[in-house]
């Protein structure tokens, strides 16, 4: 099920909210667990089993690590930790990468092994990382093992962030999972956040997405058209993904959970290093805490740090999809980040700020082109069009004209400008006026989104593939 669907908005959300708030506190994690399984099984009922296995597996692992710890048996705890990591990565690897591996083996050795043709269980990349964060943190002694399987199940399956993040680490919600107090203030703020996310997804991401689809299907676009397409995809992926995170964080608040922020206006960054601190923060944090730092981070000299960065970014690329273009995309960022760490950042600091912004925009737009086109031949053709095709044609002019408002909205929308303007305005509003404005805003966003949702058939969530 996706948030931007009539089934979710008109049936699922009202129902889960109603049942949740009618039930006494002690049942509420159970309600969330049951509805989350329904949410997850909506598209692919059979993959509920993998999710349940994952839940029980890591629930037991957590308890076992705790038990070994109590008895002072370090080796046992470590063995369970390794078991957990192998199990989780095994599930992820099997479902996500088997066919990719078979394909490559066949390509290299002409082995002719038939592909398994497995459908990727939705959100598997997200929830395996979440459950791993739990066992690792239990092992590190940062959190206590969860003894209540319903509470743990609610954490693993929690539908707001289950499918496309943010990747919520167990330690972030540990306290809230065991006892939390939902408030009207928090629920209201959460639902306002949800409406903003929905609008970002439906009113902007889907619309620029259609523009990107149109341009990427063109036989020979001019350079201007190709750039317009690349920029359209750049906007699509930001509004799609950050919109989803807004909805997830907002829904979390409705049920009394506080998830960490996942995006901080990344397109305003002045370097690629900064960009990655502000884009998909929960993934970056996960890789830093569970891969980069355990590998030694920057504590063993420059050469080792560069190697560590390369490993992390190779894995980050591969995490996004079982395809070489995602690996290329990861390597591309590894090279940029290593260059910045060694020389580029020093140079940028001496130059005016706009140079950094121009360079960063160029870097991530090119990055998204690598990301968007999975087929290498098509990727080559598209990049060639961006740099060697005739500069301008009528199509570029028409598309720019027809989509001018949308592109302006997207450009302003990914900066901090709207937020700053609102905060300035809000200071001058009386509490009653503030409430009135918020109400009108929520109603407007919801109604606008609804009209586009019903009227539009184009409604994919990009991060579903991962």
């Amino acid at each position: 099920m996706v948030f931007s669907s009539t089934v979710f908005l008109l049936l699922f959300l009202p129902l889960v909210a109603l049942v949740y708030f009618i039930c006494p506190r002690r049942w509420r994690n159970g309600v969330l667990l049951a509805f989350s399984l329904l949410f997850y099984g909506w598209g692919e009922p059979k993959y509920i089993l993998i999710m349940l296995f994952s839940t029980v597996f890591d629930y037991c692992n957590g308890l076992a690590i705790g038990r070994f710890r109590e008895k002072g048996k370090e080796a046992g705890a470590k063995a369970i930790l390794i078991l957990s990591c192998v199990g989780n990565l095994g599930i992820l690897g099997f479902f996500k990468y088997t066919d990719f591996a078979i394909d490559n083996i066949n390509g290299l050795l002409h082995a002719g092994i038939p592909a398994l043709g497995l459908a990727l269980p939705i959100g598997i990349s997200f929830y395996t990382f979440q459950t791993m964060s739990y066992t690792i943190d239990v092992y590190r002694g940062l959190v206590a093992p969860q003894r209540n399987i319903v509470n743990f199940g609610a954490y693993v399956t929690l539908f707001p962030q289950l499918i496309a993040g943010p990747i919520v680490q167990y330690k972030t919600v540990e306290r809230e999972l065991n006892s939390r107090a939902e408030t009207w203030q928090e629920a209201s703020a959460g639902m306002q956040r949800f409406c903003v996310g929905l609008a970002k997804k439906v009113l902007i991401a889907n619309q620029v997405g259609a523009l990107w689809e149109e341009i990427s299907a063109m036989a020979d676009p001019s350079a201007a058209t190709a750039w317009l397409g690349a920029i359209a995809f750049t906007f699509q992926i930001y509004f799609d993904f950050s919109g989803y995170s807004d909805m997830a964080i907002g829904l979390g608040h409705l049920f009394g959970f506080t998830f960490l922020e996942n995006f901080d206006h990344p397109y305003e960054s002045a370097s690629v290093t900064e960009f990655w601190r502000r884009w998909h923060i929960s993934l970056g944090t996960w890789f830093r805490e569970y891969v980069y730092i355990p590998l030694g981070g920057n504590r063993h000299g420059k050469a080792r740090q560069i190697l560590n960065l390369a490993i992390v970014w190779f894995l980050t690329g591969l995490w996004h999809g079982a395809s070489w273009n995602f690996v290329l995309w990861g390597v591309y960022y590894a090279v940029l980040l290593i260059l910045e760490k060694t020389v580029l950042l020093k140079w940028l600091r001496r130059l005016p700020a706009w140079v950094g912004h121009v360079y960063t925009v160029f870097a991530f737009v090119m990055g998204w082109v690598l990301f968007a086109i999975t087929d290498f031949a098509a990727l080559g053709r598209y990049v060639a069009a961006m740099f060697t095709a005739p500069l301008w044609d009528g199509m570029a002019g028409y598309l720019l004209l027809s989509n001018a408002f949308l592109l302006l909205l997207a450009t302003v929308g990914c900066t901090t400008l709207p937020l700053r303007l609102w905060q300035r305005w809000q200071k001058r509003l009386s509490p009653a006026a503030d409430t009135a404005v918020r109400t009108v805003w929520v109603v407007a966003m919801l109604l606008l989104s609804f009209s586009f949702l019903v009227g539009d058939s184009y409604n994919p969530f990009l991060y579903f593939r991962f």
Partner: protein, 375 residues
């Protein structure tokens, strides 16, 4: 809490209101506006649940049966138009209320076009003793190029311009090809409306222009027919795609003077070329012959000693009346549905006419049936 409630409450009212409203309102079976059947409540079975089709059906069902569906869709198109978007739902919003089905060079199926032309040529070559002709009606944007939205033009590569297609047609079929684009442009560029504004078909006046070109090139007497308006409330297929509340209404005209003896439409016998009852429904273009059939045999009552096999798409429906004085019988075939042997049908006729709209001809996958030997 007092400050937190209003936004939350407003949202709940909208969602629950829409939800309950959609549940209480009776389901509609058909959307005349969109010209398609709407999804009905799916039946829950174990298999459907396990293979995911049940939940997929529920998604479509709730989206299809949502309260105020047409209002939502119209609101979306209106908003897009207000923000300067000139194509909505695959339709270009042109000047003077003209809508155009979006058609770029990339959209035109050139390989299939050439394959289909070759099939027609082979069919014509197999009937050397007959007067065989092909008329490919130009796509509206090719004729009414001055009505296209700002920035779109036949000259800057943004719109399919048909030049190359007509060149190919003339190269391959030479004098057997009848090209009507210049005459349609001449008439349509003036005060006459040769295409509907909200439908993809040509108007009866447009069909009449093409008829005159046809009559001149084939050596028939050019007859003049008076056109009578039968409705001025037509909103066609292009309107259905955008559902903009401010869309124009088109007038449908018919040539009332044309009489026939009878018309056999797949076994259903009628005595008029027009089915006036279709004017009550949304798709008023069906007034011409009542729609599309596999095979129609028209007994015109004319005594000319000639008969025509007309292989066609729906553009021919409003064109057919103009042919009735020149043939005793006209056999009208829609290759999408007709399962008869075309060679046999042609054998009974003196003339053959292939009449399609150009881009529709290029995307049609049924022309190979011209060469089939069906026993």
């Amino acid at each position: 809490m007092k400050r937190a409630l209003p936004p939350l409450l407003a949202m709940a009212v909208i969602l629950v209101g829409l939800s309950v409203g959609s549940l209480l309102l009776p389901d509609s079976a058909f959307s005349a506006n969109e010209n398609r059947y709407l999804k009905q409540a799916p039946r829950l079975t174990w298999d459907a649940l396990m293979n995911g089709s049940y939940t997929a059906d529920v998604e479509t069902y709730t989206a299809d049966q949502i309260a105020l569906r047409d209002v939502w869709m119209g609101a979306k198109s209106t908003l897009q138009q207000l923000t300067g978007k000139q194509d909505v739902g695959g339709v270009w919003l042109g000047e003077d209320g003209y809508y155009f089905a979006k058609m770029t060079e990339d959209d035109f199926n050139r390989p299939r076009y050439e394959k289909n032309l070759a099939a027609v040529k082979a069919f014509f070559d197999g009937n050397p003793d007959k007067d065989c002709r092909i008329l490919l009606a130009p796509t509206p944007c090719v004729v009414l190029y001055d009505k296209l939205p700002v920035g779109l033009s036949l000259d800057n590569g943004t719109v399919f311009d048909a030049d190359q297609c007509y060149d190919t047609l003339l190269d391959l079929l030479g004098p057997q090809a009848i090209v009507t684009r210049w005459e349609l442009r001449e008439v349509g560029g003036g005060t006459q409306q040769v295409y509907y504004r909200t439908d993809h078909h040509w108007t009866t006046a447009g069909a009449q222009v093409a008829y005159r070109v046809w009559a001149e090139e084939t050596g028939h007497t050019v007859r003049d027919y008076a056109l009578t308006p039968v409705t001025d409330e037509f909103r066609g297929t292009l309107y259905s795609k955008v559902l903009l509340p401010g869309s124009a209404y088109d007038t449908v005209e018919v040539a009332r003077d044309v009489d026939i003896v009878s018309m056999d439409c797949d076994g259903q016998v009628m005595h008029s070329l027009y089915v006036d009852s279709k004017l009550e429904q949304k798709d008023k273009y069906e007034v011409f012959m009542g729609g599309n059939y596999a095979k129609v045999t028209v007994d015109t009552g004319a005594e000319t000693g000639r008969s025509l096999l007309l292989i066609k798409d729906s553009f021919a429906n409003s064109f057919l009346p103009f042919l009735c004085a020149d043939y005793d019988t006209i056999t009208v075939v829609d290759l999408r549905y007709c399962r008869e042997n075309m060679k046999d049908l042609a054998a009974d006729c003196t003339d053959v006419l292939v009449l399609y709209e150009l881009t529709n001809f290029a995307s049609d996958g049924n022309l190979y049936k011209l060469q089939l030997d069906i026993q």
